[in-house]
Symmetry: C2
Subunit: 154 residues, 2 copies
């Protein structure tokens, strides 16, 4: 697991939310996730495969933050996590991993992405099952919290 | 989306649970998932990439069924979805997709798998965001219900 893999995902998420929803997230310190569990209400997940390694990416949002992104990004107000919010989180997952893929390619890591999966459910948890360490990065803004998690074999 | 893609996953799940936990699931009829939502308490997810297509796989269990598999498979009784149960669902996801990968390879589809992600949380839902149709297959046994979902681009 290369710790520097997290930076392209952070840069890409900040860029996507700032550009698409005028929301500025403040990233905390990335840390190795051991028994720590990040809970959130809606998550976008993506599997990643390269000839060098494979792994998975997740971005998890509090409901309040997901609804704020929805309103800013699409001008539509949702009062709960509905089909539109799920679609939006799928799109954000595509954009964030697409951006990270380009940055990683510049560093010599050529990843194929699977397709996104969106999970919704009050305070669910995500556990990555790759061999390597799990990296967790908390982010926050006035609307609520988000987490990025990545885990790669080797 | 090739509807026949679902069969290797069904065969592999039935085989894994029968062999490892002596649990026989009865599969229902595979159907195209539109607005239908499958809720469960713990899910194993896997991203899949081939040169022909890409997609994602999920298997979702009721808590009661996950705990019964745990007890039969490892001889350990858990009373709730703990770390051991999460690990077990990650292993099942690896075994089921590994088995399906071999059957698909025999049919000329060579998939790379990402690494598994396990989601836990009461009655969460999974939404696959590939371009193609989503296939849902309910399965049941005395211990509770399970669902397989797959979705592939094209």
């Amino acid at each position: 697991m290369r710790v520097e893999f997290i930076n392209p995902f952070i840069a890409s998420l900040l860029n996507v939310l700032n550009t698409m929803a005028q929301i500025k997230l403040s990233p905390g310190k990335p840390r190795i996730k051991k028994d720590e569990v990040a809970r959130g209400d809606i998550s976008g997940l993506m599997g990643m495969v390269s000839s060098q390694t494979k792994g998975s990416f997740a971005v998890t949002f509090d409901e309040s933050l997901a609804l704020a992104i929805m309103e800013n990004m699409l001008g539509e107000k949702s009062t709960s996590i509905d089909h539109e919010v799920i679609d939006m989180v799928g799109e954000i997952t595509n954009m964030v991993t697409g951006g990270a893929k380009r940055i990683l390619a510049d560093k010599g890591f050529d990843f194929d992405m699977s397709t996104p999966i969106v999970v919704s459910g009050k305070a669910h948890t995500i556990t990555h099952k790759a061999e390597g360490a799990k990296l967790l990065l908390p982010l926050e803004c006035v609307h609520g919290n988000a987490f990025i998690e990545i885990c790669f074999d080797s």
